[in-house]
Symmetry: C2
Subunit: 832 residues, 2 copies
């Protein structure tokens, strides 16, 4: 093979790279987290990239996943090598066609970034519920645990389906693997070509339905012959494990990475063995190592070919010394005796006559619940107990049925030399994008490995983001969130007092804060708890006014490149000048399509960062500190206190089962409780310039700016800072008018400012702290309590219950913060 | 409870009776074999039948099963008690909504007549593939094995879902149970009402989404809380087995029929035990009895609550003496270690620590493959062998992977006093309808039990039908086709020499033939094999010219009531006069909607039957006999000989696995091979009256009448009986014209005769034997071999490749034979 080509990519890219090679057609319908596979393939197709046979792949976007599956089936039947990418409900919609494709023995590979199914609630995150719902369809199923494996197993699947004629579903963990970025070896199409036997391609094409050789398919069979027809496929399925192993060996010869249908890792004389598939297999591998180094005797079986399940190969790889087995399933099937992998393991051991072992099953990591080495260790500790029960859960507190197991103190399995960094950002503030560039800079320009994972909630833009970056010389298959960090950056000062950012920081770690507070005062603006942690753990605390730089170079509130430069300066992973050069190079790559000017602004921001970075002198004892206000009223109901408030503080993982509703039901109107206060700048209303057109209200993507008419009686009770002006509407009641900005809901995007049509704009962005000091938080509360008065007579009504004087479907301004503005739709919903 | 009300109904009626009681709404989309449930419910609704709360059920037909599931979900969420009826692919389309309904813990019952899934081929017949594809959804699942159980288990499911809040899927075997008719006890709505606790209804309604108490559902949960949310349901699922047992006990108190989650039947010290669910459980019960009476030690566990699967209850009911277990699955999951029930049994035994037994799994009865006592005995014989393998199949010859087990000589478990009757008819000749009346007459008017099952292929009308009727004083839960008959009737003489009708007939049995052959000659018109069987088994042979009677009273070829009367006379199940009175009563009930005249004609037919029935004097040795012609040409290809020809002879069950295509692929154009010759009368063309309009050709629903222009040269080689006339088209080639009737393809419906617009009709129905004697079979062959000549210039072209002068979408005549005539569609397909 040619020289290894290392690339820093995510799991979706790894899968799409192989799928593209083997496909004439990809019929798709996007669904998180599989969408990027389709997007990459489409991008490659549109730029003329060629598959193994020198053709562009035809990408067809259908009306739904059901349509995509039908198109796949049709294209395959017509003799086009076809693939698709999907997950979750999308995969469910493909089930009918999957039975048909498997029944007709048509080779294909479906690439699935496994995701939860909507049950009590929808979730976009990852687990194996969706692929397990397809285990009956007759598809073979492979599982990969990391980015590199995703590429390797996808290749094995594509080769094996062509020879075996059994269709494959190649899956990997949604988000954890699909969206994680790692430095991996890209297998070149030239190398792949050496593994493809053209006779299987020819056989596939010769089986197609063509006018030249007509045949009947999808006919009806009656009770006399259907059963026999169903049994014809047995030899093909029997052959699959051998074929898959053969291609695993060939891929090993090519790449040096050897896989087996089941891979055992651990002590040859292990007493306690875990069976698992997916990313958490790697977590367990670290912990097996950790425990065995301390004298333990444990091991781990990674399942790579789940269907057909080869009982002999499976049982053969379990050490004879094994006494206890825990089977870890990342799914839940209420009503079953256990989850699917568990039942398969019990059955395989029974079939092979391996008795006398204790076998229990457990659930973990549903919907991307982070599964850490500490959890893995807890499983081993639990398994060794005499009273270890089947059906346990790990990673939650089940105070209802008591199935959860105890989890001990956090352990750190990270080897020396790996640097772990966390970046707390605001969705769409550029933090994630900058960190993607950072990890590529490190991956592509050093001999270090590099890994990045971006945790964000389903709010996506506008929500919180935490970037987890690791780099170092050893292997970095660490599919869990960083809980022992060398470096923590807070890109948004609003997070102080709201989130616990410092617990994960190690002794002597670095904390970098973006704030507008002078560096000699900033320590006093931390909470007491933060101060204590900084002092006790000897944390190096840096402060930078990135916002000031961003604004001064014309980037508004886009502080990402400033923070990136500051990170490289502190982390010292590359010499500062080289780092700056590379940052600038990647900035150019990323932003050139937006124009030279944007590139230059970002370059200027990078240049200014170094000088603005200040190491804060940490006092020896705590000083006066910031006391965060409680996010919800003291008289809030139990659900708000026990669930919503904790989720707001990112403590949702600690919410016990008993606090969750059993049917996914929630109270309405809870969004109003989430006062996030994340905007650095919020609009200030100048009543003297306002023409009362209400376009600011109408344009706000987050409904954070409102208008009301106010009676003189109400006005008498207003706070001192609450200004209002005479209303323009025709009325004889002396009504007043006020535009109120909801400072804590505002995202600071400035759409309202742009929308203001007054000659002298009545809105202007001002620092949030200033507006808070102006009493605007209290003003909001007072305003909220006012009785709505009819705004009829104004150009356009804008608040709930009012009639609109003009249709509301023309304006299409977008929030510069989150980029999304279906605001016309929002308004029509509100005003319904 | 009130007096028992016995009714003679099918399984779909039994399920719908209960579903209707408990529902405000049923959202449906029909799919065989579940459609009748929806149809019954709709009929009841339209005639004002009331549910338990005095309301009519709202029936909503949606655009697909996906829509039906969505409507069910929506109606449930809005607080309406809602049900649906479905199967197979239809059920697959409901899976996404099923996860949601279960996730939201909404009580409902889906009634499913379990059916195969389309894989290598579609099949409308029954097995458990569809319900097994839903075992992951979180629905509880109950299974019924007979009509009575279908009603009883449906009731248990509806009661249990209301208390447990877990949704239920209540299933029973498609066709075998859904379409079988039995005399069962109907549980009255008054009795049901005593079992319903209104507080559960109120709780259900109070959980609905209503404007009065708004709440949020189907929200998104993130990785922090989804897992906890998913675990909230554990206590509810844990409670289901207890709740189901409680209602089983309550139903037992009401009806006297006691069920358990798992019911063991057989020797208390059995060594060999079968685990099974569905109708074949009853088959096994007969065989357990049969074997144990001969000194065997065998038993059987009937699974009634499949999900949640209660391991303890299951293992508790297996005798301590059990050494060998065979788990019978009516589904196939290629790639799995075994089918689902098998894996569950292995897991349950392991969990409960019951070791030291041999456990194997087997497949049977896929797609309604008949499962007989002989097969059940074969399973026990096989299980006792030391080399009994897992993954066996029974009922087929697997000469590819050798998984099928040997089946011994046929056994007969039918007790004394049960009369078994088979009626061979032509789909839509009225045989099935008349037999439905017959079994109701016996069920409703005697103290005997009664059972009827109607075997027909997916051709439905126009195909062959075999009605299997049993009656007698004992229990009749015999869910297999009759293979030991007391009475066999052949309603269509075309079946002589084509199908083996007499093998199933017992010593001294009765054979009733409808033929137009005089009774003193008819023996010579049987095949040699039939003659031997009649003589050797001392069979009483009756002949009747039912066609003559039917025609003479104005019923055309509708011979059903004549044959029914003849059956009652011979079977002597009721005194003849009483029987005739009842037949007439049921005729009136069935046909009154078609007018008094139709009733009178049928009454006249019944009156004439007795006199026309002749017992044939059977000679002591065979005489000259009918030698059937081979149905296919001798030079046909292997597929035609090995598959098609055998299927034509109803010997498809004997086709081994090796002869079936592995991907469901078939050659095209095989329909032409199936020369069925089932019409008693076929049209005769009178060339002198023909106006060459071709409307007969166009109107034929089976494309069995064709026109061609013939060159004078071709005409020279024509058989002597091949008449043609001068063509009306403008041509200078002396072309001739001929209408050819394909006697062996014709169904004898007479649509062509009606369509003929000539003043004096050019077509007239004549006995097929006459036309055969006229050489029309040979004429067809010659006609077929002629080169098509362009019919352009005629009013309408009709044969392949010709242009039509008029659009073809106006005519809508239907075949009187099969009742179905999408003939315009057929033509446009042919002429594409």
């Amino acid at each position: 093979m040619a020289d290894k080509k290392m690339v820093t990519i995510d799991g979706n890219t790894a899968a799409a790279h192989i799928a593209y090679a083997f496909s004439d057609v990809a019929a798709i319908y996007p669904i998180t987290p599989s969408s990027p596979m389709g997007e990459y393939a489409e991008q490659w197709s549109s730029t003329g990239r060629e598959n193994l046979w020198g053709k562009k792949v035809d990408i067809m976007e259908m009306q739904s996943e059901a349509g995509a599956a039908g198109a796949v089936h049709g294209a395959l039947a017509a003799g086009a090598l076809t693939t698709t990418f999907t997950a979750s409900q999308g995969l469910l919609l493909m089930i009918p066609n999957m039975y048909k494709i498997a029944g007709e023995m048509i080779p294909t590979v479906f690439h699935v970034s496994a995701r939860s199914l909507a049950a009590q609630s929808l979730s976009i995150f990852g687990d194996h519920s969706d692929v397990m719902a397809c285990r009956n369809t007759g598809f073979a199923m492979t599982c990969a645990s990391s980015i590199q494996e995703t590429m390797d197993m996808a290749l094995v699947a594509h080769l094996a389906t062509l020879e075996s004629q059994v269709p494959f579903l190649a899956f990997f963990d949604g988000f954890r693997t699909s969206h994680e970025i790692q430095k991996v070896e890209e297998i070149s199409y030239d190398d792949i070509r050496t593994l493809v036997d053209e006779k299987y391609i020819e056989r596939f094409r010769s089986r197609a339905q063509r006018p030249e050789h007509p045949m009947t398919k999808v006919a009806a069979q009656n009770e006399d012959v259907y059963f026999q027809g169903r049994e014809t496929v047995n030899p093909y399925y029997d052959a699959v494990p051998g074929i898959v192993q053969k291609y695993m060996d060939k891929v090993a010869a090519l790449t040096g990475r050897q896989y087996h249908l089941f891979d055992y890792v651990g002590a040859p004389d292990a007493t306690d063995v875990i069976i698992i598939m997916g990313s958490a297999a790697d977590t367990f591998e670290w912990v097996v190592d950790y425990i065995n180094k301390k004298g333990g005797k444990v091991g781990l079986v990674k399942v790579r070919l789940y269907r057909p399940f080869s009982a002999k190969d499976f049982v053969d790889c379990i050490p004879a010394s094994a006494k206890r087995i825990a089977v870890m399933d990342r799914t839940k099937e209420p009503g079953a005796l256990g989850e699917p992998l568990y039942e398969d393991v019990v059955t395989a051991l029974a079939q092979q006559g391996r008795t006398g072992m204790k076998i229990i099953g457990g659930r973990y990591g549903l919907s991307s619940k982070d599964f850490t080495p500490t959890h893995a260790k807890a499983v081993f500790d639990f398994l060794a107990r005499d009273d270890a029960w089947h059906g346990f859960t790990v990673g939650i507190n089940d105070d209802v049925t008591g199935l959860s197991i105890p989890v001990g103190d956090k352990i750190d399995v990270t080897p020396e030399g790996v640097v772990s960094c966390m970046f707390w950002g605001l969705g769409s503030d550029g933090t994630v994008g900058a960190n993607k560039n950072s990890i590529k800079i490190i991956g592509d320009n050093t001999d270090m490995n590099a890994q990045a994972y971006f945790a964000y909630d389903s709010k996506k833009s506008g929500g919180i983001t935490i970037s987890h970056l690791r780099f170092g010389k050893g292997k970095l298959d660490m599919p869990w969130l960083i809980d022992h960090a060398d470096f923590v950056a807070c890109h948004n000062p609003a997070y102080i007092g709201r989130y616990d950012m410092l617990s994960a920081l190690k002794e002597n770690g670095v904390f970098l804060l973006n704030s507008q507070i002078p560096s000699d005062e900033v320590f006093e603006h931390l909470t007491k708890d933060m101060q204590e942690q900084i002092i006790n753990k000897h944390i190096h605390f840096y402060n930078i006014d990135a916002l000031d730089i961003a604004r001064s170079v014309g980037l508004g509130s886009r502080i990402n490149t400033v923070m990136q430069a500051a990170f490289f300066k502190i982390a010292n992973v590359l010499p500062e000048t080289e780092a700056i050069e590379l940052i600038k190079k990647y900035i150019k790559k990323t932003f050139l399509k937006k124009g030279e000017e944007v590139v230059n602004k970002n370059w200027a921001a990078v240049d200014a960062a170094s000088a603005a970075l200040v190491e804060v002198k940490v006092p020896e004892t705590i000083t006066k500190s910031y006391e965060p206000k409680r996010l919800i009223p003291d008289d809030a109901d139990d659900f708000t206190k026990n669930v919503i408030e904790r989720i707001m503080h990112l403590e949702g993982n600690d919410i016990p089962v008993s606090q969750m509703s059993f049917d996914g039901k929630l109270p309405t109107g809870t969004a109003k409780l989430e006062k996030r206060g994340v905007a650095a700048f919020v609009p200030h209303w100048d009543s003297t310039k306002c023409i009362q057109c209400n376009q600011c209200v109408q344009s706000c993507p987050h409904a954070a700016i409102r208008a009301k008419q106010i009676t003189p009686e109400d006005m008498e009770k207003a706070p001192a800072t609450f200004h209002a002006i005479k209303s323009n509407t025709k009325n004889d009641r002396g009504l007043l008018f006020k535009i109120q900005v909801y400072t804590e809901d505002c995202q600071g995007c400035g759409v309202c400012v742009e929308a203001c049509p007054a000659k002298e704009k009545a809105l202007e962005l001002k620092p949030i702290a200033e507006e808070r000091a102006n009493g605007e938080v209290e003003n909001c509360t007072f305003f909220e309590g006012l009785t709505y008065d009819n705004l009829d007579g104004l150009n356009m009504g804008t608040v709930k219950g009012l009639q609109f004087k003009q249709p509301l479907f023309e304006f299409s301004g977008a929030c510069a913060g989150c980029g999304e503005t279906p605001y016309v739709k929002m308004l029509s919903q509100i005003c319904g």
